[in-house]
Amino acid sequence: MSKKLLNTIIIGALIVPATLINATGLQENLMANNQSTVEITAIAEPTILDVQIPLTVQLNINPNQPYVSAFTTPTIDIINNTNAPVALSVVSMKAKSGSPIVSLQSKYSTNPDDNNSWANLSSKDSAKYISFGLKQKDGGINKWKDPSYSLSPLWLTDETSQTVEKIGDIKNKGQVQLEFMAHHGMAFNEAGTFKYDLMFKVGLSE
């Protein structure tokens, strides 16, 4: 009797796992036959550009200072609140009526000691020509996308070309501080305000 019971247990022990194995295989087969694909759709919402930029910049030329310190510029903050890096560009400056026209810096020598230099322009030419550039502020905040990037002074082209010149890529949630540079005459008959149209442009970094 005890032998019969032992045999039953042994057979049962062999049959039950086999049945379980079969059942698992059956399940796999069923799944293979009724294969259902779950499609996952990821929607990438377009990025909202979110940037703070100054609209107007006042610059000052004091011809009674030495040439190298005659030009005064404020700091120009460009703040990128976008969650992505943005490319910053500048559209050439254009003089408004009565202001010296924006010219290439190479129009005259940049060495003030040269006879044909910006610093030696006559009063007539001082009122007629000027050259502008942009540089990053020394010791300022410069959160470029590429940490090793440094903006070399970017001299703006002749105002007639109206080209878009790239300044650099600002990192996401980053900020850069820029300053203007200028070459100009030193002979002004009267104090005056020169006005220019300038447009900074931002876009998603490519």
Binding site: P46, T47, I48, L49, D50, V51, Q52, I53, P54, L55, T56, V57, Q58, L59, N60, N62, N64, Q65, S69, T72, T73, P74, T75, I76, D77, N81, A87, V91, D197, L198, M199, F200, K201, V202, G203, L204
Partner: protein, 179 residues
């Protein structure tokens, strides 16, 4: 009689020479008279008693720091925050698309946005004026475009309360039109 009436060419020439010399002497004298007085001794010059606003020190041309501060205040005041969808999609050129233009409430200026195609410079959209704290979620383009992708620039023209244009800022967009 006839001899005396005839003009003697020699006499006429002499007359011109005399007139010429006389004129030269006259103008030379005038020119010399106009030369500045080079006598710097002026020993007979007495002090004229005049009171005026005389200030000790040097002319105030050199206060660059104060000037810089004033320029900085002006540029900080003119900061404009802009928000716009960088990649607006329109199912067709006549349907509305998500432009997502916002004039954040911390701005000092209202603005109007004009979108132009980079290649043809065609204006394809002009927004109504947006005051700080207002936005446009969707709108239609004003210019029909075929299916495709277009590089465009949205220019934000900022105005003060008097309606004076203060300046502008550009944003590069990629506009997509479905079929």
């Amino acid at each position: 009689m006839n001899k005396t009436q005839k003009s003697n060419p020699k006499k006429v020439i002499n007359l011109f020479i005399y007139i010429g010399i006389g004129t030269s002497i006259f103008f030379m004298g005038k020119h010399i008279g106009n030369q500045p007085n080079t006598d710097i001794s002026n020993s007979d010059r007495e002090i004229v008693d005049v009171s005026g606003q005389v200030i000790d020190g040097t002319l105030p041309y050199g206060d660059t720091e104060k000037l810089k501060e004033a320029l900085q205040k002006q540029v900080d005041k003119s900061m404009l925050a802009i928000k716009i969808n960088s990649n607006p999609y329109f199912e067709t050129s006549t349907s509305e698309g998500m432009l997502g233009i916002e004039n954040p409430s911390n701005n000092n200026y209202s603005f109007q946005v004009e979108i132009t195609l980079d290649e043809s410079e065609e204006t394809i959209y002009t927004s109504p004026m947006l005051k700080p704290g207002q936005y446009i979620l969707t709108d239609k383009l004003s210019y029909p475009l075929n299916e495709g992708s277009y590089q465009a620039t949205a220019v934000f023209y900022a105005y003060d309360d008097n309606g004076t244009n203060i300046g502008k800022v550009g944003a590069g967009l990629n506009i997509e039109i479905g079929n």
